[in-house]
Symmetry: C2
Subunit: 229 residues, 2 copies
DNA sequence: TAGTGGTCTAGACCACTGA
DNA sequence: CAGTGGTCTAGACCACTAC
């Protein structure tokens, strides 16, 4: 069996972990490594490219490759669809539409959606339950000009998240995480006390430079978001 | 100029975004795509592999490649070193050691660090300030058996995070995000009121299957963690 | 069991950039 | 301006798995 890029990657990682390759030190170039591993340069290249993508090493043309002084530690996590998140817990999912209205965009939202004063937005409030217990409160604003069919969707049965995922094939987004104090309304919806600390994510989604939707997802008390890296 | 993998990737993405390639639909195989783009199969492979890594498409041997029904939306964010985070805000960084003690591992920490009852841990409490204002509270537990030099480090000048990054070349971790109510002690350290909602991350770090450290980072009121995808 | 993606090879040219 | 990584090619073999 020939030497695979995974072999090379694992060996390099091991050398870094054991200290044989010190942080900040220069690594041999691809040609030399390929020779010493007895494989093609492309194989070494693949291994090193992945290490660079993961923030372990730093590569520059002409200057060569170095072990990063402080590895760029990065975590990756998938943004769950709430239905799947709840079903993965083994719980029964239930969705409810709380409010649906079309109104002039409020001032605080003008900038985030890139709209002008007086333009209309669709505002939805929904609740997601796990085994009948409040799990997540969804406060969503949609730019109807960019989502043609949104006027016909009634969102009585299907949540806007799942609907949008189906209607918008691809998009990019900015997402924030924070802690907020529950106000009276939120406390009632989520079944907690006013002032309780709640975990919230805010997300703005764009389709080709134009903001489609802004959503605030507020979780029930005690929610944790976890990932590994 | 020949067709690059970026060209292929961009074109496929564009077809997905425009709806020419519908979610759930089967894509042509690599050989056919290579022919239609007029490039080598390896070029198509690189493009499609990256799209698969990003969760846009789904690849299976023999079954071929499909556009994902619901793209796996995943965000990537780098775990900042608090000093850099504060300096990036243009603020002056200050660090203070609040407490340092060696004690028997508390029960709640036994499992997380994989220790036995009665074993000793190093417990550190630190504060990080931005322009003199409390920014982050750090509550850290270190397994001294796995970090040989930790007994000599006094952490009076340098925070344990930066020290550990230098001492431990590479590691993996599990990280969680949550909201907590400030208790009296936290409120005093962070200059907020008792009961205020605070953003917290908890992280356990392993070096080769053994837990080195568990840390709770609690941020000042109003902190947001943001990323794009 | 046949068709798909996964990977390796050997060679080539090129873009970038630090010495 | 020379050395490094970045990428493409054409061909090959293989592992997996749906059919």
């Amino acid at each position: 069996m020939s030497v695979t890029f995974k072999d090379v990657k694992a060996d390099l990682l091991d050398q870094i972990a054991r200290g044989a390759l010190q942080p900040g030190s220069q690594m041999p170039n691809e040609t030399d490594l390929a020779e010493s591993y007895g494989c093609a340069r492309a194989t070494v290249n693949r291994a090193m490219r992945e290490l660079a993508d993961e923030g372990i090493i730093e590569r520059k043309r002409r200057a060569g490759t170095r072990v990063r002084m402080a590895p760029i530690r990065q975590a990756r996590f998938s943004i769950p669809i709430v239905r799947e998140e709840i079903e993965a817990l083994g719980a029964r999912y239930r969705y409810a539409l709380v409010a649906r209205e079309v109104l002039a965009v409020p001032d605080w939202l003008l900038g985030r959606l890139g709209l002008g004063k007086g333009q209309e937005v669709l505002h939805l409030v929904c609740m997601h339950y796990a085994d009948g217990v409040p799990y997540q409160h969804e406060d969503r604003w949609i730019n109807p000009a960019l989502v043609p069919d949104v006027a016909e969707a009634d969102f009585a049965q299907t949540g806007p998240n799942e609907w949008l995922v189906g209607a918008i094939p691809f998009s990019n987004a900015e997402i924030s995480f924070m802690a907020v104090d529950a106000d009276r309304d939120m406390a009632e919806h989520l079944g907690c006390r006013e002032g309780d600390a709640l975990f919230r994510t805010e997300r703005t989604t764009w389709l080709q430079e134009k903001a489609i939707t802004f959503v605030r997802l507020t979780y029930r008390r005690g929610h944790r978001m976890t990932t590994q890296y």
